[in-house]
């Protein structure tokens, strides 16, 4: 889905209309930031909450006259701290990656398609299949089991093993 149609006001160099500037900044950054947040939360309700909180916190900064690169990096940093709050509160942990400064420096376009080949490559084929069916295609456990020709109980165990294996082999550090 694309960002909804909008017509950000044209900026006259040297005479920016400060009062509406943040809206065009918002329209430009909301989708990339949302995709970034979604890839750290994996579900819509959390992705919407974290994105909202991030923009509300960052709003004063959006008004000021800073470069798009700085805004992006500021939004990423803010989002990471909100994500860390969510994870700490819900799962009692802060993931290493949230401290990774490289994320903030990555270009916006890099998040357009989430590249998961680094996660899947190198996994045994049945591990790879179960993850593709469950996550990429959205199959239920039952459908996954049928597609793979294994029992439901097997598919359940397989998805856990596959995920844990992926976590030890680069899943935490995906660079596109």
């Amino acid at each position: 889905m694309a960002v909804p149609e909008s017509s950000p006001p044209l900026r006259v160099v040297g005479a920016p209309d400060r009062s509406h500037d943040w809206e065009s900044v918002y329209q430009e950054h909301v989708a990339p930031l949302y995709r970034y947040v979604f890839s750290r939360t994996g579900n819509t309700p959390d992705a919407e909450d974290v994105t909202s909180t991030t923009f509300l916190r960052a709003l004063p900064r959006l008004r000021s006259d800073v470069s798009p690169g700085e805004i992006q990096s500021y939004l990423r940093t803010t989002a990471r701290s909100v994500l860390a709050d969510v994870w700490r509160q819900r799962h009692g942990t802060v993931l290493m990656e949230f401290d990774d400064e490289r994320d903030a420096a990555r270009p916006v376009e890099a998040d357009r398609d989430v590249d998961v080949s680094a996660i899947l490559d190198g996994l045994p084929s049945n591990y790879r299949s179960v993850l593709e069916f469950r996550f990429l295609r959205g199959y239920s456990i039952r459908e996954t089991a049928a597609a793979m020709g294994v029992s439901v109980a097997n598919a359940k165990v397989l998805q856990l093993r596959a995920l844990r294996r992926a976590a030890t082999t680069g899943g935490r550090d995906v660079e596109s």
Partner: protein, 224 residues
């Protein structure tokens, strides 16, 4: 299956059903959970914001921005009033300001209306769609917020149910189109505005609402 297995299974299930995972310790599975989120984001079309969300957030930001501007415009007056409320009253009397003007000073609406914006917030289900059928008003208490949800102009809305006069909890009127204060003869309409009367009261703060899987959810503080 071990306890950790069951927890990770539930986590996966929540993501594949696009639900918020429930609270549970990650222990050794933090990295596996993170991989699950990454994979889920690669689900076709799964990681893009809905246009409705983008619009809703733009509206919230506009409201927050509006309050900010209003505060800046009224800066000096506001600070003077809030910091020196009693002093202002004393000074007004000393200066021989008429009682009518004094009444105005005391009851002048201040900012503070607009949506409740908790610092750390979460969407919490407080009603079903059945509860907010046109003409009905549902009271709730969640995350330290007392409020009501209802449908107005085809839209589910939320309002604080705390009177902006002395903090009494407002009650929906039997006719269900007003919120009535039990303490004084005052009421608010469903836009949150105080109905004209002897007092000039602040409007009720609004509460962000959304409909999610048949439930009405409100944005309230994440109460841990």
């Amino acid at each position: 299956m071990s306890k950790a297995d069951r927890r990770l299974t539930r986590f996966i299930k929540a993501l594949t059903e696009d639900r918020r995972p429930r609270r549970s310790p990650a222990d050794d599975d933090a990295a596996a959970m993170q991989v699950a989120a990454r994979l889920r984001a690669a689900h076709p079309g799964g990681a893009d914001p809905s246009p409705a969300f983008v619009d809703r957030l733009a509206r919230r930001l506009r409201e927050a921005e509006g309050q900010e501007t209003a505060r800046a415009d009224a800066g000096i007056h506001r600070r003077g009033f809030l910091v020196g409320g009693a002093a202002t009253v004393a000074a007004s009397i000393a200066a021989g300001v008429g009682l009518e003007r004094l009444h105005e000073v005391l009851t002048e609406p201040q900012s503070g209306a607009g949506p409740i914006q908790p610092y750390i917030s979460q969407w919490t289900a407080v009603a079903t769609l059945e509860d907010v059928k046109p003409g009905k008003i549902k009271q709730f208490s969640a995350g330290g917020v007392q409020g009501v949800v209802f449908t107005l102009d085809g839209e589910v809305r939320g309002l604080s149910a705390v009177c902006t006069h002395q903090g009494c909890t407002l009650v929906p009127e039997p006719g269900q189109s007003r919120l009535v204060c039990p303490c004084h003869p005052m009421s608010f309409n469903l836009e949150g505005a105080a109905n004209p009367g002897d007092y000039r009261l602040n409007p009720l703060p609004t509460i962000q609402t959304r409909v999610n899987a048949g439930s009405v959810e409100v944005l309230v503080p994440a109460w841990t």
